[in-house]
Amino acid sequence: MAEREDRELQRYFDGELSLRQARQVRERLIESADDQRRLEALGEMRGLLREAAEAEADDADFSRLWDGVRTGIATEKGRAPRRVGSWVLRWGMVTASAVAVAVLVLVLWSPLSSPPPRNDCTIEDLEVGQGAISTIFTIADPELADATTVIWVDDSQDSQESQRIRESQGEL
């Protein structure tokens, strides 16, 4: 709970909350001295970080960077102008992005990305015809931790019996 409130406070501080959420946090801040302190602490931390960053920037030596930029400009001036139009680059980027997105969509939609349906089955009641023999068994698939149920009905005995009866009746 406290962690969630901390996150919310951090988002409030960063200006990421919706108007309604921000109002709720403001109401909480009025009532909670702890939250006020935490908000102040966030402000102080940001100030310290900014100061540290500024000090680092002041100390940095940009002379080499500018030398590099000047050299780069001079080299580019010496080269022949590029033939590729800016629209080619722009449309190239758009096409490449579209292709990348299409590939992503295909991968996400691919049946391979979704697990195959499971087959686990419960036979609640089984009735087989007179003279038939039924067997229920499962075929395990350890790879998918799944099992397929099979009902095997053998009525060949019954068929043979019927054939014999028909033959005997014919003889009579």
Binding site: V94, R118, N119, E124, E127, V128, G129, V150, W152
Partner: protein, 166 residues
């Protein structure tokens, strides 16, 4: 203008999966109001003739590689029927051996957050109670039940019954 068109194209592609997801969720809610299942009945024949497993049965290749199916040198798909069955209703399909498969969708169950379907299956000759007059079973949504053993033209028939909530 061109930039706007390009951006809208990319945005459409990005948004596509999410809009489909949303449509899927919406249709699931509708199904709850009027339950239906889509069942596929595949009839195959296993025989001693060489030929391997029919490519159209590739989803069942693993099961067919194990006994008793592994005894067949070939398993060939004879027919595929698709049935849409409403809750409490039955649908019939005539099988290649002239037996009639009758499937009744009883209800949809929710067990441990997963959908299961309760169905009643019978495979008999018309006006007969031989072979398989009644089987009540519950199966995972999209799961397949195999029924085999009926003799047909020197081979053995295998029925694969797959049902999925619509």
């Amino acid at each position: 203008m061109r930039r706007a068109l390009a951006l809208s194209f990319v945005a459409t592609i990005f948004a596509a999966p999410f809009s489909v997801e949303a449509a899927g969720a919406g249709s699931a809610a509708k199904v709850a109001a009027a339950d239906q299942v889509q069942c596929t009945i595949r009839t195959a024949v296993g025989s001693e003739k060489a030929g391997g497993v029919d490519k159209r049965l590739s989803k069942l290749r693993k099961q067919f590689s194990k006994p008793p199916f592994s005894a067949f040198k070939s398993i060939k798909l004879l027919s595929t029927r698709s049935l849409t069955i409403g809750q409490g209703a039955s649908q019939r399909a005539t099988l290649p051996n002239s037996k009639v498969l009758k499937l009744t969708f009883k209800e949809r169950l929710l067990a441990q957050g997963k959908q299961r379907l309760r169905l009643h299956l019978s495979i008999t000759k018309p006006k007969s109670r031989k072979f398989l007059p009644g089987t009540l079973y519950t199966i995972a949504d999209g799961g397949t039940l195999l029924v085999g053993g009926a003799q047909h033209q020197g081979g053995t028939l295998i029925f694969a019954i797959t049902c999925k909530a619509k």
